[in-house]
Symmetry: C4
Subunit: 207 residues, 4 copies
């Protein structure tokens, strides 16, 4: 974090924090006959899964935002708007998640899954557009060339991987969701080359 990007990060943290906290509003106390609460709670398991997946995905996106802005030192007008575009993707997440939870066990599973996977395809593009602008406009910390390159490599795989995941929906919706979860785990890990560098660098970076 640099002083110059401080307010972008504060605003973004606010958006992430709210988006991740609002998710619980979709988990409702079920209507149930007396003595049947246990069954009623068990029956809404897709809602819990959807809640946990959304929470995890927004969490992973927050960690990635944090990682990018560890390298970004300067801001310009375009960065402000590309960051807003990325946040647009983040705030949208509760909608495809609720859609998937409502339709996973029904006739419209494919379309609901496609909207869900498609959302992450678009977010992957937004992440890349933001990062490439920061690289090309020279907004990065000059000391972190290597770990920035590692991020570029990891992120570059994102759009293609999520597009394949989206196309897989029409072959097998459950398989595409497993791939989507696998991709989230992949992006949860720091990019390989950067890991050691990054951790050595981090303590000093914000001094």
């Amino acid at each position: 974090m640099s002083a110059e990007t401080g307010r972008i990060e504060a605003f973004s943290d606010g958006v992430y924090a709210i988006a991740i906290t609002l998710l619980i509003l979709d988990v409702r106390v079920p209507a149930s006959a007396p003595g049947q609460l246990g069954h009623a709670l068990a029956r809404q398991w897709p809602t819990y899964i959807a809640f946990f997946i959304s929470f995890a995905f927004i969490g992973v996106m927050w960690v990635n935002h944090h990682r990018l802005f560890n390298h970004i030192r300067r801001s310009d007008n375009r960065l402000l708007f590309l960051n807003l575009l990325l946040l647009l993707g983040v705030t949208v997440v509760p909608f495809p998640t609720a859609l998937l939870a409502a339709h996973y066990n029904a006739a419209d599973r494919t379309i609901a899954t496609a909207v869900f996977n498609g959302t992450y395809f678009i977010i992957a593009i937004f992440f890349n557009v933001l990062w490439h602008h920061a690289v090309r406009a020279g907004l990065l910390d000059s000391e972190s060339v290597e770990s920035a390159a590692a991020i570029s490599t990891q992120y570059g795989m994102g759009p293609t991987a999520y597009l394949l995941c989206l196309l897989l929906t029409w072959i097998s919706a459950p398989a595409s969701l497993l791939v989507n979860i696998g991709l989230a785990l992949f992006f949860a890990l720091p990019p390989r080359v950067a890991t050691r560098k990054d951790q050595k660098r981090m303590p000093g970076a914000t001094k």
Copy 2:
């Protein structure tokens, strides 16, 4: 950002972040017969447009708030309340947007569009009142006279332009909405003279 205005900005960032994130609550999973989810999703397109417009407009207002407070160095009691007045305008945005989405395809398009355009007319006045107080009370950074003048010029056009946009509603609601979107694009861009100065100054401003 100066230390003195830091808490005003933190509070404002919180309000902007929440207002922009709450917008998704108005995009609901549609009720649909089995196999009809695709059609049901497509039919609620005015809701998506309303969501995107609100998101973009609040985003532009955040960027402008950010821009103003890059120049404001000191605060006084009146600034606190004029800032609250501006935030009042920001938090209100979801209401006229939902109104417009609900009535755009119906008999009450004109009144819904007028409320929507009127909201931005009032916000434009609030932005000017805040900025003029900061200029007159000497709360600005003394080094940024030129870019402050450019902001004053750009903002000074706001109320008149939004008033014309509001009056246009009764001639053509769709045309008035296009003008409103055009005005948002105009205010998304940094004021002309200030651009170069501003970017040279910014890195040092928060040191």
Copy 3:
């Protein structure tokens, strides 16, 4: 703001920002017959008044919180919890406001107004408890003895004034609401002796 109280203020700013932004959720698009939107919008005027009053009152409370923590330099375990108690009062505000909006034009006006006025009576007590603890435990900035005394004087009037306002409810609900609004205006202004001192001191206080 001192480094030590920074996180208390950041958390409190978050709570204030959310409480003030959630208020708009109670302003809903009214159901209306085609061509009747204007009337339907006009008919829900108590909702708009309730929204503006709540927004203004939470805004005034934020300004006062800001003012207090300009003087508070150190924190202890009790301050954390007294601040939470105060925030409890702030987050509750939407409930009595919605109650008042729903029942002002009906048989239960007195009880709804009493709950509304009673909430501010309790918040006035919480403000005093927090402030008195900060004074007695020596948590204040040593340079601001005079303006702290002015705050103590102004705040000391709060509980009695709000109790009288609450009792007035059973004589005249409308009159008690006017008194409540008058009290908010009184606490919006900085305490008299402190004003000049405070403004001279503020720029350096956060260096």
Copy 4:
């Protein structure tokens, strides 16, 4: 707070602030016949109790988070995710609380109470996992060995105590809730050995 953990704390503060502020949305204006508002308000007392308990519990968890990060100086990738896991527990709180409020006076009291107590059992585990990782990975401030040991001792009791509380549910739901409240009071207090050290150390820690 150190610069390096600053953004984790800002994000966490946001989540806590939103979670604690959203609670009021579950307190609704009751439907009532004219003149019966007082009775209608009194009848929903379990909702008020649930609101106050949730507010107090999230407040206590915030104070504990604050306490832990007073000692944590460095961050690593795992800390980011263990913190997200803890925040998952925090954001979930409104759901078991609403469940308890809806079913406390009915046939399903035991299951609702078990879900409520079970949530805090899991959160106690999450707190311990986060803290133990910070201790073992050497992320702590080197000066606070003693007070860190006191925290480890206090926290080590958490999972066992909350498990016993959970098991007590099937013997007596009301008794288990009283134990749960007692545990919250226990964790509201700073750990014994640390108290004096901590307060002496705190003013300098964030310099």
